[in-house]
Subunit: 334 residues, 2 copies
């Protein structure tokens, strides 16, 4: 039995969607217990009429909520009993095995670093979402709120990302690449030029060199290493472009009778293509490099994504991800 | 009559495609003269059998070629009589009104800065391609080879981009936005945090704040300001994703008889949607902020793109773009 602490007040569709998401996760997994942090009355009202195993849900009332626009450092310091900070503190004090939030990314990062220990050798904890490529999943580290990273941070991201793909996804010696604006070693900005030799010299990594953004989704690179600013831009651009294209296709298919018929015949195939790069399918992303498990969902997560993120969290816990990460970081420093 | 100096040896499909591109441009524009820098024998052999107004094409033989993988600074210094450097020097010494290359981006930048004066007030010359959005074209500055920019550089990029959209594209008071990882003013990396107040305080700019990558193609932002590393990643990611999706659709449409029929009916509409974000349609991009005109094509430019870039260059020359830019930079410094 594993316990997940969930901040149900975080995200664009909170508390409705996170609450319905955890109900779904509880129905699906008999070995899951959830502690929901949030407004008790709202949670109970959302759950009224919903079928779920109530004996495995504990509601802990919180008054404060950290908003998306708040400054992470200030909010985490001032709102210690907010749903977000409370969920993270539940992991820190051992009440829960992991926690989940779709709230303010920066605040999740700040609170996690404030309350949960980092694995020795890790200075910064990257957010590492899996992204779909033409050759299967890849991990994009960092996509979080750690901006202005240094070369040694990116080096640690590469190690953590490799360990994740190897131990959680079962990919042996995953191919590591550095996001760059050219394939040649001498190209790039200062950060990339300083990081390149570190990755190249690390014999524990299967480093294949630079990857240009053009090839990011082709799948040659499996551990895609970059600064959080660049990772965030890449991730959100793919999401935004996909959602715009879906809308355009929808409009196109309704533009004429001829197109409607074509759309009917092609519907399944079109959907398949558009789903190829659908990042939301992958649920949440773990903050890597901590001794406790913190999983972050998209701000716009709906119930399905929250439920998927619970399933992922169970996988991470069953595989004892953080211990594995810790061992890998120790080995790589030997 | 305007004269364009073209480096026909630059780019993935050189010299074949650039040479055929200039032949097309010469056929199309009676007021165009071209000086082609490159291997004379190859150029003549490509042109044999091609119909074009030979009296308006001058071939200047060059032996040296700068490769894509070469270090820009070293290559420009050592290969002064390469096709690339020669084309740029033709602008510098007044032989040509503008120049065009699909070669090594870094080398184009270095050579342009070495041989052509910068407009007063401009420290760095950004590459500003037009990109398609849901609401018409936007300019992405910088997408070039100027990495590790400072806030004052980004401020100048915003001014140059605004002047371009206003005077070349006829868009009044174009909306300027800064690429960021959140919409709030306090988000972002060091560079973004330093640039934000400069743009906000500049009363000559129509600054609308931050734009997240998710909304980059939605069209709210018309002058999209970022460091060249980020711009390059964004531009190439859009290109890469689009080309992968085109391939996937092609495969999907041939996967069954049913899909084939659907594809036939939807062909026109599908193409329209996929073309919405097709960056290559826009031809080349000018290096902004120079006293001479330098236009850069994609490395993978085919003849059509080279011809389009010649047409664009003529537009820039007819509108006397550089003088306008110079005036705008002076005004904005008053």
């Amino acid at each position: 039995m594993f316990t997940i602490a969930v901040d149900v007040m975080g995200g664009d569709y909170a508390p409705e969607e996170p609450v319905l998401g955890i109900a779904e996760a509880l129905r699906k997994h008999a070995d899951l217990k959830i502690i929901a942090f949030g407004d008790k009355e709202s949670i109970e009202s959302i759950l009224s009429g919903v079928r779920y195993p109530a004996e495995r849900l504990e509601i802990r009332h919180t008054d404060e909520v950290i908003g998306t626009a708040e400054s992470p450092v200030v909010a985490v310091r001032k709102k210690r009993s907010s749903s977000l900070v409370s969920a993270i503190r539940a992991v820190a004090d051992g009440t829960a095995d992991s926690c989940l939030s779709a709230g303010n990314s920066g605040a999740v990062l700040v609170a996690a670093q404030a309350y949960i220990k980092r694995i020795p050798g890790v200075r910064r904890t990257p957010l590492g979402p899996l992204i779909p490529t033409l050759k299967g999943p890849a991990i994009l580290v960092d996509c979080g709120a750690n901006v202005d990273a240094r070369a040694e941070h990116l080096h640690a991201f590469a190690k953590l990302g490799s360990a994740y793909l190897e131990h959680i996804c079962g990919i042996k010696a995953p191919r590591v690449a550095l996001v760059n604006i050219g394939a040649e070693e001498e190209k790039g900005n200062k950060l990339v030029k300083e990081t390149f030799p570190l990755l190249k010299a690390d014999k524990h990594l299967n480093f294949i060199g630079s990857v240009e953004a053009r090839d990011l989704l082709a799948g040659e690179a499996q551990v895609i290493v970059c600064d959080a600013f660049v990772g965030n831009v890449a991730l959100k651009l793919v999401e935004g472009m996909l959602s715009m294209m879906k809308n355009l296709f929808r409009q196109a298919v309704y533009s004429s009778t001829r197109a409607k018929l074509g759309g009917m015949l092609l519907k399944k195939d079109l959907k398949k293509v558009l789903d190829t790069f659908d990042i939301s399918e992958y649920g949440g992303a773990p903050l890597l490099g901590l001794e406790g498990l913190v999983v972050k969902c998209h701000g716009n997560a709906r119930r399905q994504e929250v439920a998927t993120a619970c399933t992922q969290s169970l996988t991470f816990l069953e595989q004892d991800m953080n211990t594995v990460m810790k061992q890998r970081m120790e080995e790589s420093n030997e």
